[in-house]
Symmetry: C2
Subunit: 350 residues, 2 copies
C-alpha cells in the first residue's frame, strides 16, 4: 500500500522511486540524456534542454504568502534553475473538482501569471480536466517546464575549475561536491512548511508566519555570474536535512553544518520547538542551498544577498571527507548526526 | 462553479479557456513561440521544441485494451505527433491516494514502459505526490512531453506546396486547411469512449469492446513520408464532431462528411444507438484525423493503412468553402449539421 510518507520527499519516497519506478522504466543510456533519470536530480537534460515536472497538491490552496498557483510556477522555475538552466516556458495542467468556484480559479490564475511574469517565463501550453465532486480535493496543478543552459554557466565553471579540478562542467549536479566546498543557504528556513501548518492546524501567532514561495532564477543568475558554484538544490519536501543527505550520498562526501549559522526566524523556530519538529526537515519553497568552491564562497554569498530573496543568506557549513556523515555542531557545542528524514513531517506542503 | 462539462473537451471547455485562462495569462508574442497558446493547438512550439502536457483522470484506471499508464504515454506522444513533431522525452508525474495498492502501481508502470518503448520515447523526469485517503480517487497521472520537428515534415510540405500555395510550411496546424482538402480518419471511431462506458456502467456485450489507445507517431511518420498532409489532430474528448468544428473555425472552412464512409464497429455503433449517443461525439485515444491535399489523399490513405493502427482508415469527406458549416450526408441520403458538442457525453475518458 502507498502511504503518505511515500510522497513526503524523504528516504521512503526515494526507496519507492528506486525500487519500483526506476525498475519498471527501461532506459537507453546511449540516447543523449545528459542527466539520466537514475540520478534523481532536479531536472533532466535532453539534447541541451532542461526539462522538469512537478505536481502540486498543497492544502489549503490559499495560504499566507501565496497559493497553489504561485507555488506551481515558482517550484518548476526553481527546479530548472537548480541545474544551471534558464527557465523559458511552462505548461499548466489543471485538475479541478466539479463545483470549484470559478472566482477561486481566477485568483489562482492571477498568481500563476504574476509569478510567471516575475520569473520571465511564459505559460505556453495547458490542459484542463474536471472530475466529479469528491473525486478530488478542490484543485491540483501540474506544471512542467523547459529551459536552456544559463548564459552564466560557462563563466561559473571556468572560475570553479581554475580553483580545483571539476568532475563535470556540464551542469550543477548533486554529485559535484568535494570536501572543502562551502554550503550556503539563501535565507530563513522552514517558513513555508510552518506557514502551511499554522493555517491548516489553526495555530495563532502574534505575527502571521508567511510562506517564502518565490522564483529563484534571478538569484541563481547572480550566483553564477560570480562563479564557483558546483551544486544547487531547493530544500522542498524533507527540507535541508534531506537535501544535505542526498548530496552526501551522491557526491560521496560528508557535510558539517553549524546550528548557530542556520537562519531561522525566531517565531518559526519557537513554534517548531513547541511542536517538537526540527526546522531542518521542514520544506521551503523559496530557498536554495548552494555548494561553492571555498575561495568563492564569500563573493557568492555577497552576490545573492544583493537580491531580496537572498537577503538573509548565510554560509552554514562545508563538505568534509567523511562520506555519508551529515553532522551539526549544536548551539551548546555538541555535535549530532542529521539523518535523512523518512519524509517531511507536514503532508501536502506542495 | 466548475462543472464536469468544463473539462469535457467541447464548447463549454473552450469558453472557459478563452474567457478565463487566456485572459489571465499575459503573453509576449515577440519571444519566439511559433505556435502561441491562443491557437489552442495540440502542442506549443518554443524555439523548435514541441512541448505539450496532459493530465489523465480516467475512471476506471484499468479498462479493456489499456490502463491509465498506456493512456498517459500514448496521449502525450500523440499530441506531439499531431503537430508534425517526433516525440523524444516524456515526464511522468504521479498523484496517488494513500492506500493505493503498490501492485496496481507496478502494473500501471509496466504499461507506461511498454507504450513508451513501442513509441520510442523515454521517461526522463518525474514526480511523485501522495495525498491522504479520499482526497483523490486512486491515481492521477500527468505526462508532459518534448519533441522535435519530424524529419519527414520538410518533404511533406514540399509535396503539398507543389500542389497548392500553403499558408505555412512550419507545422501541421488546425488553421492550415483549405476548401477541397480531403478528410481522412485512421480507423473505427468511438471505441475508447464506449469501452470506458461499458466497463463503468457494467454493460455486457457478446464480445468485449476494447479501447483503441495507441501511440500514433509511427503512423504519422508514414503519412508525412508520402507528403501532402496539412493538418492532423486526434479526436479525443468531444470526438470527431468537436475536432471538425475546431478545424472549421480555425481554418475558416466548412467540412462535409459522409456517414456511410465513417468507420464504426457494428457492436459499438449498435450500443451507442441504444444509448442515444452519436459516435461522432465520443472520444478516441488511438485515432487521428488528417486533412490532406486532394491529389495526395489516396496515397496517404494507402500509407497509413499499411500500419496496424491505420488498417481501417477511410476518406470521410472534404473541406468546403462554407465557413463554419460542418455537415454530414446521412445514410438515408439527407444532410444534417454536426454541431460542436458542449462536451464529451462520457466523463473521465482520459
Amino acid at each position: 500500500m502507498i502511504t503518505l510518507t511515500h510522497g513526503a520527499g524523504g528516504t521512503v519516497m526515494q526507496e519507492l522511486i528506486k525500487r519500483k519506478l526506476l525498475k519498471a522504466l527501461r532506459h537507453d543510456e546511449t540516447s543523449g540524456f545528459e542527466v539520466p533519470l537514475e540520478d534523481l536530480d532536479d531536472a533532466a537534460v535532453v539534447r541541451g534542454i532542461v526539462f522538469t515536472t512537478d505536481s502540486y497538491t498543497v492544502k489549503p490552496l490559499f495560504f499566507p504568502g501565496g497559493d497553489i498557483g504561485s507555488l506551481a510556477v515558482a517550484g518548476t522555475v526553481n527546479d530548472i534553475s537548480m541545474m544551471g538552466g534558464t527557465p523559458v516556458a511552462l505548461s499548466l495542467a489543471l485538475m479541478i473538482e466539479e463545483g470549484f468556484a470559478i472566482s477561486d480559479l481566477e485568483r489562482i490564475l492571477q498568481s500563476v501569471d504574476s509569478v510567471a511574469s516575475k520569473a520571465g517565463v511564459q505559460i505556453v501550453t495547458g490542459d484542463t480536466k474536471v472530475v466529479e465532486h469528491s473525486a478530488l480535493d478542490g484543485l491540483l496543478i501540474n506544471t512542467s517546464g523547459i529551459g536552456f543552459r544559463s548564459p552564466a554557466l560557462e563563466h561559473n565553471f571556468e572560475v570553479a575549475s581554475r580553483l580545483r579540478p571539476l568532475m563535470t562542467k556540464k551542469w550543477l549536479l548533486d554529485s559535484n561536491i568535494r570536501a572543502g566546498d562551502k554550503i550556503i543557504v539563501s535565507g530563513h528556513i522552514a517558513d513555508h512548511g510552518m506557514a502551511i501548518m499554522s493555517v491548516r492546524e489553526g495555530y495563532s501567532f502574534k505575527t502571521e508566519i508567511v510562506s517564502d514561495v518565490a522564483p529563484l532564477n534571478g538569484l541563481m543568475r547572480k550566483a553564477l555570474e560570480i562563479g564557483g558554484v558546483v551544486a544547487a538544490k531547493d530544500p522542498t519536501r524533507g527540507g535541508v536535512a534531506n537535501l544535505l543527505n542526498e548530496w552526501s550520498e551522491k557526491s560521496r562526501v560528508g557535510i558539517d553544518i553549524s546550528e548557530t549559522e542556520i537562519p531561522v526566524r525566531p517565531q518559526v523556530g519557537a513554534a517548531l520547538e513547541l511542536l517538537g519538529i526540527d526546522p531542518l526537515v521542514v520544506g521551503n519553497e523559496g530557498k536554495v542551498v548552494l555548494a561553492v568552491i571555498p575561495e568563492q564562497a564569500n563573493a557568492v554569498l555577497e552576490a545573492i544577498r544583493s537580491v531580496p530573496e537572498g537577503r538573509d543568506a548565510a554560509i552554514i557549513g562545508e563538505a568534509t571527507s567523511r562520506h555519508g556523515v551529515v553532522a551539526m555542531r549544536t548551539v551548546v557545542g555538541g555535535s549530532r548526526v542529521i539523518p535523512a528524514p523518512a519524509g517531511d513531517p507536514v503532508p501536502r506542503i506542495c
